[in-house]
Amino acid sequence: MAPNAGGSWGDADIMTDVLTTAKGQTKFYATAATESANPGVGEVFKAFHGEEQHNLETVFSFLHTRGEYPTPLADKQQLRQTIERFEKAHSTLGISESPTTRRYKTADPEHPPKADAGAGAFDYKADTLQ
């Protein structure tokens, strides 16, 4: 790629900015897809999100394969320290059992809510994966 000369932007600088723009758009469309009430509008944003995420992968790969986005291995000592830190954090959670694989139907409370349900009393039915 063309080198960066005398403070001017080279190809790597330009493509890094394109990568940053794609990151921003990917995040934007993910939120937009979630917060659209009209299903059609949501689908459009969802499609744009998928498209932009692909752009992000393409530009990352472009820079990475040219050595312009180095991905050095993690420092072993730092890795050990991180593990120790979160092992300690885990012990403060007060959980001794492994997490279950249950899934909860919390995303879509029943419409309309049950007549006898009080305010805030959603019917969260636990479901077990088969």
């Binding site: 790629m1 063309a2 932007w9 190809d11 330009i14 493509m15 900015d17 394109v18 723009t21 921003g24 758009q25 934007f28 469309y29 937009a32 917060e35 659209s36 009430a37 009209n38 299903p39 059609g40 509008v41 689908e43 459009v44 944003f45 969802k46 499609a47 744009f48 999100h49 998928g50 498209e51 995420q53 692909h54 752009n55 393409t58 530009v59 472009f62 409370p109 029943e110 419409h111 309309p112 809510p113 305010a119 805030g120 959603f122």
Partner: protein, 95 residues
């Protein structure tokens, strides 16, 4: 907290108008910026990649503007426009 039924009737919501306005601004800015970059780049592969992305952002801009222009049933209009674009091969990586 009360459970409210979705009361969308095909009209654009305030939030969607806000999102579409933001998105149109982002797409227009991306087209302008990438057009400028295209002239600055030396690498031919990078230029080609940018050309494809400019087309893509341009298509998105036109499509979202169309969603705003056809106000009768925004959800149906959006779905039809998306289908059209997918049929033409304009969207390759939709979820």
């Amino acid at each position: 907290m009360q459970v409210k039924q979705h009361d969308v009737t095909g009209d654009l919501t305030e939030k969607e108008l806000f999102l579409l306005t933001d998105a149109l601004g982002l797409e227009a800015a991306a087209v302008k910026k990438y057009q400028h970059y295209q002239h600055e780049l030396q690498d031919e592969r990078a230029k080609q990649l940018l050309a494809e992305m400019i087309d893509q952002h341009h298509r998105r801009f036109d499509m979202m503007l169309s969603v705003l222009q056809y106000q009768e049933d925004v959800s149906r209009t959006a779905k039809l426009l998306l289908q059209d674009l997918q049929t033409q091969g304009g969207i390759h990586h939709g979820a």
